[in-house]
Amino acid sequence: MNDIRYSAPHTIDEAVGALLAAKGTGRILAGGTDLLVQMKAGMALPGAIIDVKNIVEMSAIEDKGGGAFRVGAAVSGARIGEHAALKKAWPGVVEAINLIGSKQIQGRASPGGNLCNASPAADSVPALIAAGAIVAVHGPNGRREVAVEKIQIGPGKTSLQPGEIVVSFSLPARPAGSSDAYLRLIPRTEMDIAVVGCGVSLTMKDGVCTAARVGLGAVAPTVMLVEAAGAALVGSKLDAEALEKAAAACRAVCKPINDKRGTIVYRTKIAGVLLKRVAAIAAERAGGR
């Protein structure tokens, strides 16, 4: 019964203009795998839809060398999965994005959409947080850069200001011996939403962990950077004691709910279980302990 204004601008400034003009009723369309489902369910009734797939900067992957990449916010999961250099440098980020939905969904779904949908269970976000991704945000006042963990502020809520659009993710350069991994727990093997999701990015030198970041999803209103868990791993050989300390740090920050997808007790326990498993995979990829 309500009219929807659809536009597909070719520049980011036009997109920002269209979003502002919609006066809070505008929604960004990249893959549409969340937006269209919400509209069909009557949960979203946008006055304007701004399709950003024509904006070159948002649809490109740029290899900046040394492991650094810029990934457009609207690039599909399938294209990310097919990018050999990105996959080699950031296997955890890529596997997290590739876990979203089915093969068909992968042809559409984007990391920008996954972040801005602001689900605490978003699969790509823990891995991007662990990776230390920086988000480029474009708005009426130009461009700003912000750490990925600062975007989500609650279920379905972001820190984006009126007219602001997430343009791209920058993954930093890092030394040899670095890698990352992501695991989620779901009751099935695919087509599901994380009960807990955990991303770890780390650097190993001579069997010792010299840097580590941990992102944890689905156990609190937002995906979290667990600094204490990263700190527990740094300086260790990822021995049982260090892993347990990091797992305990993960459990300590959990503020989950009892719901149809899991209990508080279960989610808290699994946060620790996953941390250990993910850290082991990341270390293995980084060249062993």
């Binding site: 019964m1 727990l185 009751p187 099935r188 093997t189 599901d192 939403i193 719901d259 149809k260 326990k269």
Partner: protein
């Protein structure tokens, strides 16, 4: 396989409906449209239990584009009369109230009113404008809670049947069933070991991919046309006739292709509403449920409780068995507690049996049939208990079952004595399988369980027509939910001695073929197959008459062989065989078109037995179960089309594994369903399971010309306990509550090993 004995039976040609289905040409329920059609939508109760004090639709009717609104006042009240539907029974008084709530809304999602409007958006807006005044009542969801003295009562008229003396107060217990065989107390006195456990299961949905959909067109002269995705278009016709007071022959129902039913499409939800909306608006009305509506308001299978006690001798001989089953009926009486009771110990030859069943109403959607209704629930309890017995006796679980297996001559607890059955053969085939003979892979544990289903016969009609060129049309009236067109065509080709490609099976609407009971009870290949065979025999009789006329001999002097009429012997005369094509070409001169007909009430459905073997691993940290290998063995009578028989075994096993591991209806504190979608109602996805291996054991049913037994339902009976038994053997913990979901399994493992939980 039966190959060798037959030319066509036992072969695997493409199904007649296959190409249309894989190219998207097949038309399912929502694919039918008419010019000028309206969109019908249902207003559903947000409350689990509430008195409907008033309904004011004036604002909705005033909305431009709204053409009709209906509520209970538009449907005549019905008598307290029970009629069969599929393997279940329904009371007309109840079903009209389930189609449209009358005095009370009895579950969240219960239809309260419906609109027909020019567009979906207008119809949705109109629903928001209907004012319903509710008086919310306390509700009860759980079966055990509903049986308590102080439970909220759903129906003031409901006095428990089957209890003497009859109770004086209403309760939520609609019925009590008692089955007795032998002397249960004396039996347990002989026992040297007794195992007793209490089990629970949750409500599960049939999970058909295609939501309910219908298109109704009521003409000015009173004739009604309906297109519906259903397992029984004759039942749709019958229900619409009864519920709307329309003469049956005025209603013509055409079944669409069906995207899954599993028993859930043997009842009506939308059709009577669509017809009434069409009558009131004068336009065709199309209605399609959303997935959310399918979950909230169409029949799930019940959850329930099963208490099992089995007594045996040290050598494994079971001497006494007792179980008490209480099943959710949903908002109206009529759970499948009967079949749950009767199937409970049907696999075993036990001298002393006591089974008690309770049919319990609560504020949930009315349950509908789901593949072997009730049997998986009692089998979960019984087959788990048999496994515990095997563990305690240190016996092989197949050997224990062989020792007690039902055979020809075994008298069941519910009355009948088995004729030729294949349970022993199926157990032996499972035991001899490569799967069972090889050890589970490292980290895997093995579970075994058995299952039984009666299979049914009932009413079928069929016709066989010879076309002008000698090809054949086989006409029957059962929607094809499992490859039945292929099976019917194979039997017709075999009987007629012609190529499968010359036989085209079609499913006729209710006005184009005689009555057929629903596609359910694993009856179609058996009963409608029998009607098809008889119709072909009737046609052959006529073909022989025509050949006799051509040759100028007596019809008794003609035989039918390899698709041709031939003289019965040299004394008849020397004649070249006459093919179907030749007889068809001259039909106009020998008596006109050549057709055959048959109608019957099929008796002698052969019961089926299955034995399933599963190897799986339990991740002790997460409670996640990974199925590594799965084999389903079953006595299938004769596998007419082995691929579709295997498909039935595989599909049933997968649904049973889902029931065991993750599927459940989850309710919030207000009695509202919390997981009305495929994301959080977790059926298995393809990657969750290995290829299901199948072993087809063929012990022909002596009551069918080709030995057919129904095969579609048995395979959902064993998997729940097979999975549970493997989990118990893997973890050392016997879980008795389904589903064995990761949080539940993890909590049980942690409770049993406190050291791990503290880690």
């Amino acid at each position: 396989m039966s190959k060798g004995k037959y030319k066509w039976i036992g072969t695997r040609p493409d199904r007649p409906d296959g190409a249309d289905k894989v190219t998207g040409r097949a038309r399912f329920g929502a694919d039918f449209n008419m010019p000028g059609q309206l969109v019908g939508k249902v207003l559903r109760s947000p409350h689990a239990h509430a008195v409907i004090k008033s309904i004011d639709a004036s604002a909705a009717l005033a909305l431009p584009g709204v053409k009709a609104v209906v509520s209970a006042v538009d449907f005549p009240d019905q008598p307290n009369l029970i009629v069969p539907t599929g393997e279940m029974q329904v009371n007309l008084r109840d079903i009209t109230r389930n189609v449209m709530a009358r005095e009370k809304a009895l579950y969240e999602g219960h239809p309260v009113a419906a609109v027909a409007a020019t567009t979906e958006a207008v119809a949705k807006a109109a629903l928001d404008l209907i004012k319903v005044e509710y008086e919310v009542l306390p509700h009860v969801i759980d079966v055990a809670d509903a049986m308590k003295e102080d439970a909220p009562i759903l129906h003031d008229h409901l006095i428990t049947e089957g209890v003497k003396p009859a109770p004086t107060k209403p309760s939520n217990i609609a019925k009590r069933i008692d089955n007795l065989k032998g002397d249960i107390e004396a039996g347990f006195k002989q026992a040297e070991i007794v195992v007793e456990r209490h089990y629970t299961t949750q409500a599960v949905h049939q999970g058909y991919i295609e939501p309910h959909a219908t298109l109704a067109s009521a003409a000015e002269d009173g004739q009604i046309q309906l297109w519906s995705t259903t397992q029984g278009h004759f039942q749709v016709r019958g229900f619409c006739s009864r519920l709307l007071n329309i003469e049956t022959s005025q209603i013509r129902v055409t079944p669409t292709e069906i995207g899954g039913g599993f028993g859930g499409k043997t009842v009506v939800y939308l059709e009577p509403i669509a017809v009434r909306l069409s009558q009131k608006s004068g336009k065709p009305v199309k209605m399609v449920m959303s997935r959310d509506e399918v979950f909230r308001a169409s029949g799930p299978a019940p959850g329930g409780t099963v208490h099992v006690k089995i007594g045996a001798k040290r050598d494994g001989t079971i001497v006494a068995a007792e179980c008490t089953i209480a099943l959710q009926a949903g908002a109206f009486p009529g759970s499948p507690v009967g079949p749950a009771c009767w199937t409970s110990f049907a696999c075993y030859d036990i001298p002393n049996i006591k089974v008690v069943g309770y049919d319990v109403v609560s504020n949930r959607p009315k349950v509908a049939a789901y593949r072997a209704p009730g049997a998986p629930i009692s089998a979960w309890g019984v087959e788990s208990t048999v496994d515990i017995l095997a563990q305690e006796l240190r016996m092989d679980p197949i050997d224990l079952r062989l020792k007690n297996a039902a055979k020809k001559g075994t008298k069941t607890s519910y009355g009948p004595t088995f004729d030729t059955i294949g349970f022993v053969e199926t157990l032996e085939a499972a035991k001899a399988s490569e799967h069972y003979k090889s050890k589970p892979r490292a980290g895997m544990s093995r579970g075994v369980a058995a299952g039984f289903w009666f299979n049914v016969g009932a009413d079928s009609s069929a016709a066989a027509h010879v076309a002008e060129d000698g090809t054949v049309t086989i006409i029957s009236g059962n929607p094809d939910i499992g490859g039945s067109r292929a099976s019917l065509a194979l039997m017709a080709a075999e009987e007629l001695g012609v190529d499968y490609s010359k036989v085209r099976p079609v499913i006729a609407d209710t006005s184009s073929i005689g009555f057929n009971f629903v596609t359910g009870g694993s009856r179609v290949t058996f009963a409608t197959g029998l009607a098809v065979v008889n119709s072909v025999r009737d046609m052959i009789r006529e073909l022989k008459v025509r050949a006799a006329k051509t040759w100028g001999v007596d019809p008794d002097g003609v035989i039918w062989e390899d698709g041709c009429a031939k003289p019965a012997g040299s004394n008849v005369g020397e004649f070249e065989p006459l093919s179907l094509a030749q007889l068809a070409a001259t039909a106009g001169r020998t008596g006109g078109p050549i057709n055959g007909h048959a109608q019957l009430n099929a008796q002698g459905a052969g019961p089926g037995f299955g034995v399933h073997i599963v190897d799986l691993a339990v991740d002790r940290d997460t409670g996640i179960v990974t199925v590594d290998r799965y084999t389903a063995a079953q006595d299938v009578g004769t596998a007419i089309h082995p691929s579709y028989v295997e498909g039935q075994l595989q599909g049933g096993a997968v649904q049973g594994v889902g029931w065991a591991l993750n599927e459940e209806y989850i309710y919030g504190s207000k009695g509202r369903l919390d997981n009305a979608g495929f994301l959080d109602y977790r059926m298995p996805v393809a990657s969750d399971l290995p290829m299901i291996e199948t072993i087809l054991v063929e012990v022909p049913n002596p009551h069918h010309p080709y030995g057919v037994r129904g095969v579609g339902e048995v395979p959902i009976v064993p998997p729940l306990a097979a999975v549970g038994n493997a989990v118990a053997r893997s973890t050392g913990i016997r879980l008795t509550d389904l589903p064995l979901s990761p949080p539940r399994l993890s909590a049980a493992i942690d409770a049993a090993t406190p050291r791990m939980a503290a880690e």
